[in-house]
Amino acid sequence: MAASSRAQVLDLYRAMLRESKHFSAYNYRTYAVRRIRDAFRENKNVEDPVEIQTLVNKAKRDLEIIRRQVLIGQLYSTDKLVIEKQEEPRT
């Protein structure tokens, strides 16, 4: 398998962020977005292709976790927190 290109890593980053925004729980949603940004930023200067591949594989597994947990969260979703923006009321 060819080593992960910059484009693939960026695709993964965007996919993880996109998926994380679907968490219905405010705290999980904000944590996931924050953590993904921090983790990718932290590792942006890694050169070793083996290390990069390990990180990419871990990220792919984490993306699967996010997908599953987003779904479970939606199945059991509840009311929003006081600080979340409310949707426009239907007239």
Partner: protein, 395 residues
């Protein structure tokens, strides 16, 4: 009908953003079946009510009581609650083997977290059980030769209760006082150790005021005097670096639901800058930042808690929250009675956002000001009267 609804929802969720056709937020299975006012996912059999204003949930700022379950943890656990349900002690089939493998993997993870060997990890029902086992276990094992234990006045209730029950069995317990900072005096500890002391128990991070005890130094003292050292690390593991061998810890209690970085300075600074007469309880230096205990003078703690109904907070610890007495921890650090009644504990954890902190700060300042306006004591203080000089008459 229900199954079709679930299937449609599942496929929709997998492909698109979670938005039902009408635009209302999705509330889970139940709302599709019974059309009534949005509530939590707990089923209820009340008569369907008209679509009312959604009840908004408070922010969670009480992580010392318990923490939100990390989705990664739930994801790791679910397979063992769904398909891999074998008993880890079943040695004869794959169900048992796969459960055992998972348990041993977990044991290794806990061991690496604290620098211990996996064989030294014992799973219990929680820190309360672990504390009981450690303290009563060591004490009773050596009771033929050693009859003395040392602990502190600020320990968790389960530690204090274990010591009290041992006293009823004939043991002698020294409850070390703490200084105003909340930290014990190491010289007093050394002086308290007797030839027949079997155990010293000091918690790593206090659950009410967040103070960190000098664990490494205590470990060194105990090891040199050949006394077992137990620490309740329920509030510390996973948050501050701990190594049981470096710190010479013989027994450590860990809590699964409290394991789990903070915007604490922001909260403390903003509040103390905007309000006068606010006291932080506990040493500001040797302090775990995620647990902030503040006393707001001339404001009653319970009324402030009630006013801050949109934020989940506590005054004192969860296990003592039912009683009306002020916290024994605050009493131990020498807090005035009235300030002890005015204390609130803010808990900040991994999932807390800056936005939540800002909201909490804003509401806290607003309500403290409002309650102080209503307080005759505050009025007197503003007029320059020294409250301690007042002779309260009795009728």
């Amino acid at each position: 009908m229900l199954l079709r609804v679930v299937w449609r929802r599942v496929t929709a969720a997998l492909t698109a953003a979670p938005r039902s056709k009408s635009g209302a937020p999705i509330r889970g299975l139940r709302l599709r079946v019974v059309d009534h006012a949005p509530q939590s996912a707990i089923p209820s059999d009340t008569v369907p009510a008209p679509e009312a204003e959604p009840v908004l949930r408070p922010l969670y700022m009480d992580v010392q009581a318990t923490t939100p379950l990390d989705p990664r943890v739930l994801d790791a656990m679910l397979p063992y609650l769904v398909n891999y349900y074998g008993n880890p002690h079943s040695r004869t089939h794959a169900y048992g083997w796969e459960s055992e493998a998972a348990m041993e993997h977990a044991r290794q993870q806990v061991a690496s977290l604290i620098g211990a060997d996996p064989r030294e990890i014992i799973f219990t029902s929680g820190a309360t059980e672990s504390n009981n086992i450690a303290i009563k276990g060591v004490a009773r094992f050596y009771k033929s030769r050693k009859k003395h234990l040392i602990t502190t006045q600020t320990e968790h209730k389960c530690v204090l209760d274990s010591c009290r029950s041992l006293e009823a069995e004939g043991f002698q317990v020294t409850y070390l006082p703490v200084q105003k900072s909340g930290i014990i005096n190491l010289k007093e500890l050394e002086a308290a150790i007797q030839p027949d002391t079997s155990l010293v128990s000091v918690m790593t991070v206090n659950n009410e005021i967040g103070v960190k005890q000098p664990i490494a130094e205590i470990g060194r003292i105990c090891s040199s005097r050949k006394v077992y050292f137990h620490t309740d690390a329920a509030q510390a593991v996973g948050k501050i670096p701990l190594d049981v061998n470096d710190m010479k810890i013989d027994l450590m209690s860990i809590s699964g639901h409290k394991i789990y970085g903070p915007k604490a300075e922001r909260l403390t600074q903003k509040i103390m800058k905007s309000l006068p007469d606010v006291v932080m309880n506990g040493d500001p230096e040797h302090h775990y930042p995620g647990c902030i205990n503040l006393s707001f003078a001339y404001v009653e703690g319970e009324s402030l808690l009630m006013a801050l109904k949109d934020v989940a907070l506590s005054s004192g610890s969860a296990c003592t929250s039912a009683s009306l007495e002020p916290s024994y921890v605050l009493r131990a650090i020498g807090t005035d009675e009235d300030l002890a009644h005015s204390s609130i504990r803010f808990g900040i954890g991994r999932f807390t956002t800056e936005e939540e902190v800002d909201y909490t700060v804003e509401k806290c300042i607003q309500h403290v000001k409002r309650l102080r306006e209503m307080s005759p004591l505050w009025e007197m203080v503003q007029d320059g009267i020294d409250l301690k000089s007042i002779k309260w008459t009795q009728h």
